[in-house]
């Protein structure tokens, strides 16, 4: 499988490298071999975690839920396969192999039972499942979890109307938190994991436990909480020990002296971490990985974030340089190896969910740049090396984010632009000023807010925060359809929204717009209902003992994340999809029906009913009405109104911890499934075609160049949306050639951020290349493309997602 290239003779810790160029080659060779092995591995469903949880649960009936889950986690750590692959410097898998999707049956298993025969061949994100694991699933896992999953309880508890609007409708995607676990945290490497190590964390829990009495009712929950903490610590320490033993055993039989030395060093690393604090860069990287993979072992779900990698890794690097125990090149190699491990984290999804989150991504965000707690610039050597690792490894994960502020060194920004120009979609550029504002709006102190990091694709986050950043997504375009069809779907005719008045009777544009907002409010109500029911169930059924160890506040308070133990708790975020289609649609109606009176409402409705067939003139008129993304206030102000409303409407509700709901305007590939249930829209969009994604213009309608797109986008009040906003810009390579193009790109970013934009990302690639990749997928296995805020391997996307990427407006400047 691997090329049998001999491992070049480089010392494990080259204090003084001799021939720099040969070292360079060695590092790149290792990266290339590991990447090839990664690309050849098939995404596979692994039942090891599910089996361990099931077997443990059978033995713990009657005990407190948090303790049962902690024991199950520990059992998984004791029983999962230990894998150390050729060439690896950082080791560990959360399943039986490289790219493993692990089922989490305590949340949901039914979908897999239904899709078992089709999951290997489904169009989006197919998974392989071996006969043994299939057997395990059917004979051991399903029988135990039947009637015991969170999914079953959620669906039984939703009111009828929420079920009707919010389950399998593509109007509300409530699935996110009853089909999947939560994820959405960032381990606190700086203040907890690295300085303490899990032995000390365990001992802290033991000390806390000693102060508590079984005779005090208020102590009982805490006793169980600390007991669960101890179990979880024992679990991850066991994992380290098992890896140490494996590496030592492999070193004994390894004949290649170079690899033998490496394995011995890996063994020593795993003897040390994660039980104790790391002492050097390599140990720190191994510890970072153990924690990340254990997150995935405890919950297979998206958006476990590495956090500010440069900030917490640089001290180790500097110390090692000082003592001459590492070279820059070897540190780079370790980082590259860690990157490939992170790419192994994939999230197992049902068919329905795979339409929303196509691309096998684990949404493991990793941030560099930004500012320190005291406000100073945080860029260091590791920031550059992180950018370099993504450039050399070129896989869709980790999701590399850079935080830019006015004093970010120009050189670092240019290094990031150089990476973006490679055409792999990374990094995502984020505006420090707006990110900090969002965090403060969500309740953080300004100094804490400065250490913000990125979560998932574009969500501003902090390692001391517990939140549901993606409680779900809703389809705003459905509300426009209902407004123009008395609450009925134009496709099925079914009454889905409120039975508002006949649109022919609207006396003014404002009356129409207010009716639209009434329909949106109706959707938001079901968003809130579903989330609150789900939150209550999560609190009852799936506390998070391992993850609570990683967030400040839980140990101190003796409460789990689900009970508000974290230092900061932020309310749930709901993602709006199709805002631009509503803004464009309302602008087209205002212009053509109410102001210029080019057509009547009746003519418009007939054209929509017929999907514009036979109404070509009206269709052209609507298509050529003002569109968001062209710096035209006529429509841009409506987009601002849509997005502002999303904030106001959601923040009327509070969650079970008492925190207001908040708005997110991003949306991954949400725009495709949500578009499939909406008929023709007054913006000229044909029935069932994709909607606009996130906060971006509708694909193909922003035709005035990137500065106009950015100016339109910057009109949105980004700080009102702590769930993140997203702008994707596709640039053809000819637009950004040479040093001029690079500086042009950097200046675009700085200007957009000065205007108040939050995030932007560039797709630098030619449409021809993309079409060719569609036709010849085998020739483009490593073509990484950005799909709405995250990256995926292009050829692994379904044709419709591929077409979506191709269709996005290209800003070519000639």
């Amino acid at each position: 499988m691997l090329e049998n290239a001999s491992i070049a003779n480089r010392p494990v810790q080259p204090a003084q490298s001799t021939a720099a160029s040969s070292n360079q080659e060695t590092g790149n060779d290792r990266t290339r071999r590991l990447k090839n092995a990664y690309l050849q591995s098939r995404p596979t469903i692994c039942m090891e975690r599910a089996a361990a949880f099931t077997r443990s649960f059978k033995k713990t009936e009657g005990q407190a839920r948090c303790l049962r889950l902690a024991k199950a986690f520990r059992h998984a750590c004791e029983t999962i396969t230990i894998n150390i692959f050729d060439d690896e410097l950082v080791v560990g898998t959360h399943g039986s192999g490289r790219r493993m999707g692990a089922l989490v049956p305590e949340i949901s298993w039914k979908w897999l039972n239904e899709e078992l025969d089709t999951i290997e061949t489904r169009p989006r994100d197919p998974y392989y499942i071996s006969p043994e694991h299939r057997k395990l699933f059917l004979e051991e896992i399903v029988p135990y979890w039947k009637t015991r999953s969170l999914e079953e309880k959620a669906l039984a508890q939703f009111p009828a109307e929420t079920l009707k609007t919010g389950v399998n409708t593509d109007i509300l995607d409530t699935e996110m938190k009853w089909r999947s676990h939560v994820g959405e945290i960032t381990p606190d490497f700086q203040d907890i994991v690295f300085p303490k190590g899990f032995r000390k964390i365990r001992d802290e829990a033991r000390e806390k436990l000693e102060e508590l009495k079984y005779t005090e009712i208020e102590d009982l929950d805490k006793i169980e909480y600390y007991q669960s903490s101890i179990e979880a610590c024992e679990g991850i320490m066991t994992l380290g020990r098992r890896y140490a033993e494996k590496a030592e055993a492999m070193a004994k039989v390894q004949t290649d002296p170079q690899r033998r030395q490496e394995l011995a060093a890996i063994g020593a690393n795993c003897r040390r971490v994660p039980a104790e604090s790391p002492r050097n860069f390599w140990e720190a990287a191994q510890m970072c990985w153990f924690v990340m993979m254990s997150c995935f072992l405890s919950e297979n779900c998206p958006a476990f974030n590495v956090g500010r990698f440069d900030m917490f890794m640089n001290p180790f690097f500097q110390d090692d340089l000082e003592t001459k125990t590492i070279t820059g090149e070897f540190a780079q190699e370790i980082i590259n190896c860690l990157w490939i491990k992170i790419a192994e984290l994939i999230w197992l999804l049902p068919k329905s969910g795979s339409r929303y989150y196509a691309g096998y991504s684990g949404f493991t965000n990793l941030s560099v740049g930004g500012r320190n707690f005291d406000g100073s610039d945080a860029v260091n050597e590791i920031s550059y090396m992180a950018v370099e690792a993504t450039s050399r490894v070129g896989l869709p994960q980790p999701s590399l984010s850079v935080i830019i502020h006015p004093d970010t060194p120009e050189d670092f920004l240019l290094a990031c632009c150089r990476l973006a120009r490679q055409g792999i979609g990374f990094p995502a550029f984020h505006n420090d000023r707006v990110g900090v504002q969002m965090m403060m709006y969500a309740g953080l102190r300004p100094d804490d807010a400065r250490e913000w990091t990125l979560l998932g694709c574009v969500v501003p986050h902090h390692r001391k925060v517990y939140e549901w950043t993606d409680a779900g997504g809703y389809n705003m375009a459905a509300a426009l359809e209902w407004t123009l069809n008395r609450g009925r779907s134009r496709i099925t005719g079914e009454q889905m929204g409120l039975p508002t008045k006949d649109p022919r009777e609207f006396s003014s544009f404002n009356e129409l717009k207010e009716t639209f907002f009434t329909q949106v409010r109706h959707i938001l109500n079901h968003c809130a209902i579903s989330t609150i029911i789900e939150q209550r169930l999560h609190r009852q059924m799936v506390p998070r003992p391992f993850l609570s160890l990683l967030v400040e506040g839980c140990m101190e308070s003796g409460s789990d994340l689900v009970n508000g133990g974290a230092r900061y708790n932020i309310g749930p975020g709901w993602i709006v999809v199709g805002a631009a289609d509503c803004a464009n649609g309302l602008a087209a109606i205002r212009k053509n029906v109410f102001e210029e009176k080019n057509i009547t409402m009746d003519q418009l409705l007939k054209a929509l009913d017929d999907d514009f067939v036979g109404h070509e003139e009206i269709h052209e008129m609507l298509k050529n009405s003002p569109k968001f993304g062209n710096d035209d206030d006529y429509v841009d102000r409506l987009q601002v109104e849509m997005t502002d409303f999303n904030d106001r409407g959601l923040s009327e509700y509070t969650d079970i911890l008492g925190n207001p709901f908040h708005s997110a305007i991003m949306g991954l590939t949400y725009n495709i499934p949500t578009g499939s249930v909406v008929g023709a829209l007054p913006c000229g969009r044909k029935a069932t075609t994709p909607l606009a994604e996130g906060c971006s213009p509708h694909p193909g309608t922003d035709t005035s160049g990137p500065t106009a797109s950015m100016r339109s986008e910057a009109k949105v009040n980004h700080e009102l949306h702590p769930g993140g906003t997203l702008l994707n810009l596709k640039l053809l390579p000819s637009a950004i050639e040479g040093q001029r193009g690079l500086a042009g790109m950097a200046n675009l970013i700085r200007s957009y951020f000065e205007l108040g934009g939050y995030h932007c990302q560039f797709n630098v690639i030619s449409q021809e290349t993309l079409r060719d990749a569609q036709a010849n997928p085998d020739d483009y296995r490593d073509l990484v493309i950005r799909v709405a805020g995250y990256c995926a391997i292009f050829t692994e996307l379904s044709p419709e997602v591929q077409n979506e990427v191709i269709r996005r407006t290209s800003h070519e400047s000639l």
Partner: protein, 337 residues
Amino acid sequence: MNNLSRTDITGTVLEIQRWSVSDGPGSRTVIFLKGCPLHCPWCANPESQDRRVQMAIFSTRCVRCGACVRECPENVAIPAAEGAFGTDNCTGCGNCIRSCHGGARSWMGEEMTAGEVVDLVKKDMVFYRKSSGGVTFSGGEPLTHPQFLGEIINRCMDLGIHTAVETCGYFDWKAAEKTIAMLDFIMFDLKHMDEATHKRLTGVSNRLILENILKISSFGIPMVIRIPVIPGVNDDEHNIRATAVFVRDHLPQAIGIEALAYHRLGVNKYQALGIEYPLGHIEPPSDSRMAALRKLITDTGVPSITADNDYDAQLVRSRLKSTPKHLTKDGPDNAQT
């Protein structure tokens, strides 16, 4: 407020393109003005040559709705997909364009006031500030609109916006002199050094052009000389060398020569105007050919300007000290640890 005190001169603007990084320093808005005294067969903007507003037809956008037929007072319009006009008796009233919602017919060129142009230019102020960019006037030949241009540049000066022109050099010096004096940067085309060849290729002699470039040179405004490299037309070594020698010996403040490779991206515009593309048989020059010509230029002692040079050459690109040594600009292969 300021605008009221000035006469609002109008001009024919072909197009305004926002965000260009290759038409002068930094990020720029490019204003294309209509009308050019030269008629180069390789022109990528054929619709810029005629000073008048023209109608363009995009037959593929036509949905045959028949609105143009209904709205035409002369009864000459037919759907664009069927040829656009039945007879030649079009009076240019524009009803058919206004009625066409699909954009199958459009005016090429629009009468705009200087104030309207400046309002559009101002939109991207932030982008100019961040990049030391500004506005560039192109064409057509912008210096054949000296008053209109002068008025816009005047207002840009008030706002602190950097201004530049792209010129073919063929214009009336007396009329344009004052406008030129206000410019910050000039991109000057020298298409051929030989007078007879120049006349054969472009329809005009290069004598006025060479006179004008020397006069501009005496103003001391920074400029770059551009040669559109058309294979088999003007890319012989003799011409390139002669151009470089002229620049070296007579244009002390020129920052260098920018050789621009011929491209065919204007082809569909010829179709839209109903003109046959005159250079159909010529392939764009290869990268190696361009490199050889650039070497010829530098061998003559004149800097060659490419996409790797910012025009005003003032952008400091010093490497930051904290950059790891093995991460040099050209990537890992050059690493020296």
